[in-house]
């Protein structure tokens, strides 16, 4: 449906998008996720036609549109600040697209009315945008775009301007509208939670490069790079070297000492630098006495409890490995934890398959520094 082939975009000496290869399917809810400055908005603008790629091609419905101006592309955008026309009423805003394309009045008027119903704003048709709340303005922007029956709807951080409560409500609203109209949604966000809950597939971008494209589960469970692992959710990244490859996975010599068993997307060469990713909620804690047995099976580490933060349904525990590396775990509070006090020694274990291999070494071994900070700040 939408295809980007080796798209690159430079502004003077600055490269905003290094290389983007993407293929977005019809009817899909697709997210482009990354920190600010990663090139996701520039990529969206190249699909919309506001920017032209320095090299590479943008294809819509198998037609190369790289040099086609925005007003001749059959995609529509919902802008971050909505960009509603302040001098027009809600209905006039929605009718702007069809009127620009010289659609007959008798044809577009019912369509405008129908769109107003889809976004539940029928009684606001004659208001000016300024008389509406942020959420209502956003729905006008949606209706104004969707009334053109675009082959794809592009949304640039559509929820960023809303407060937290409204944002959560709009996530469901967007999903509902997308199901109702069946149009491809391409959605740019820096909020991983938003991307994970709403999308069918996610492209994670960093510094102008698409790091990984996959379903939320794939992105979360099998991150393709250290960046993806650190950006999506919390991750403990333990650096090491491949010692041995077996049918069950790879045995890794951690710099922190013990050997663990982990699996990755492909076999990696013995001796290559890798990181073992352990998600905090996949770790469980056992009495220290069991550490030795667990380490032999390659599914255990020994550590000391540093901090404990009760969070209601779960507790967040900061552990220190013998070499000083800090690891964060989330433990359900219904688990029996009478033995846990700061300073206690514990054994940490995980289910087979929970340790995932990523090539390369992280900047900081162990938990994301932000996670460590958040635990310490809570105390």
């Amino acid at each position: 449906m939408i295809r980007l082939e080796a798209v690159r975009k430079q502004f003077g000496g600055f490269t905003a998008v290094e290389r983007a290869d993407l293929s977005i399917r019809r009817g899909e809810f697709f997210a482009m996720l990354g920190p600010s400055g990663c090139g996701k908005t520039t990529t969206l603008k190249m699909i919309a036609g506001f920017e032209q790629p320095t090299s590479g091609r943008v294809l819509l419905e198998n037609v190369d549109v790289s040099r086609v101006p925005p007003y001749q592309r059959n995609v529509n955008t919902v802008f971050q600040q909505y960009a509603l026309f302040p001098h027009m009423t809600v209905a006039e805003n929605i009718a702007f697209g069809p009127r620009s394309k010289r659609v007959r009045r008798s044809v577009y008027l019912p369509q405008v009315r129908e769109m107003l119903e889809v976004v539940r704003l029928s009684e606001f048709a004659d208001r000016k945008p300024r008389q509406l709340s942020g959420g209502q303005q956003q729905r006008v922007a949606l209706a104004r775009a969707l009334v053109n029956f675009p082959s794809a709807l592009l949304l640039d951080e559509p929820l960023a301007a809303l407060d937290l409560k409204l944002r959560e409500a709009m996530q469901f609203e967007l999903k509902r509208i997308q199901r109702e109209v069946g149009i491809t949604f391409v959605f740019v966000t820096h909020d991983q939670g938003e991307a994970l809950t709403m999308s069918d597939r996610i492209a994670v971008m960093s510094q102008g490069v698409v790091e990984q494209v996959g379903t939320p589960e794939e992105i979360y469970n099998e991150p393709a790079s250290l960046f993806v692992a650190g950006f999506i959710g919390s991750a403990n990244l333990l650096p090491g070297r491949i010692a041995e490859n077996s049918s069950e996975g790879s045995i890794v010599d951690l710099l922190a000492g013990p050997r663990v068993l982990a699996h990755g997307p492909e076999q990696m060469l013995v001796g290559s630098q890798v990181s073992v990713m352990l998600r905090p909620e996949r770790l469980s804690l056992l009495p220290a006495a069991e550490a030795h047995q667990l380490q032999i099976s390659g599914r255990g580490l020994e550590g000391t409890v540093r901090e404990l933060v009760f969070q209601g349904a779960s507790a967040r525990i900061l552990l220190q490995l013998p070499d000083g590396t800090r690891v964060v775990t989330n433990v359900a509070t219904d688990a029996d934890l009478p033995f846990l006090r700061p300073g206690d020694s514990v054994a940490m274990t995980w289910k087979p398959g929970a340790a995932y291999l990523i090539s390369g070494w992280p900047e900081h071994a162990g938990a994301n520094t932000t996670d460590v900070d958040s635990v310490e700040a809570a105390l």
Binding site: Y71, T77, A83, F85, H87, G97, S100, K101, N148
Partner: protein, 270 residues
Amino acid sequence: MSAPISKRGRIARWALNLFAAAVLLYLFTPIIWIVAFSFNEPAGRFNIAWQRFTLDNWRDPFSNQGLTEAFVQSLRIAVLSTSVATVLGSMIAIALSRYSFKGSGPLNFLLVLPITTPEIVLGSSLAAMFLDWDINRGFATVLIAHIMFQVSFVALTVRARVRGFDWTLEHAAQDLGAKPLRTFWKVTFPLILPGILAAALLSFALSIDDFIITLFNAGSLSTFPIYIDGSFKVRFPPQINVLATTILLASVIVMVVGLLWGQRSRRQQS
């Protein structure tokens, strides 16, 4: 209840009010004078000493043919030059705020020049140029001169308005299928129209009352200010006061209407 004021405080406040009144009197005396003398029945050719109240002057404001002709010339020049300058100046303003291009820095500087340069310099150098090129000075040269300084005023006034313009609105229009021309007329233009109107009014006023630059480039043409200047020497008919009062009235009406309009649109926005 306001706090009790000491005696010194009361004197200070009284002095401040007196001072304010004096300043207002100083500012408005000439205007009041002009308006009052439009109702005077002059003795002789000079309407400068109060005789008695009459409405005759207002009944026949165009009785003085030379004055009427000069007034009409001024209006024609103001309408034409304002139209041209508003279009040119608005285009410059939009270009300057919309795009950053080679030479936009020097252009910004050049825009301010006609405003900061003394009128005597602008007027005389323009006249010298026309003389050098053997161009007869008259209606056309005055028109050119007025457009020259009006363009700067229009461009700077419109630019102040356009500065806050959200250019993603243009993106939104194009995204919805509007070609650049439709985008301009349906989105950009209606939104910056108040700024353009304000600029047009300002430059109209500048043209109507310009004296120095006009005098240098008018040749034998007589405009309203030039006629008034000349009339001091031979005769000063009360029709001058009538027409001046009319202009004053017109600008006050425009100002009040603009103010009400602005308040209304602000109320709608909030």
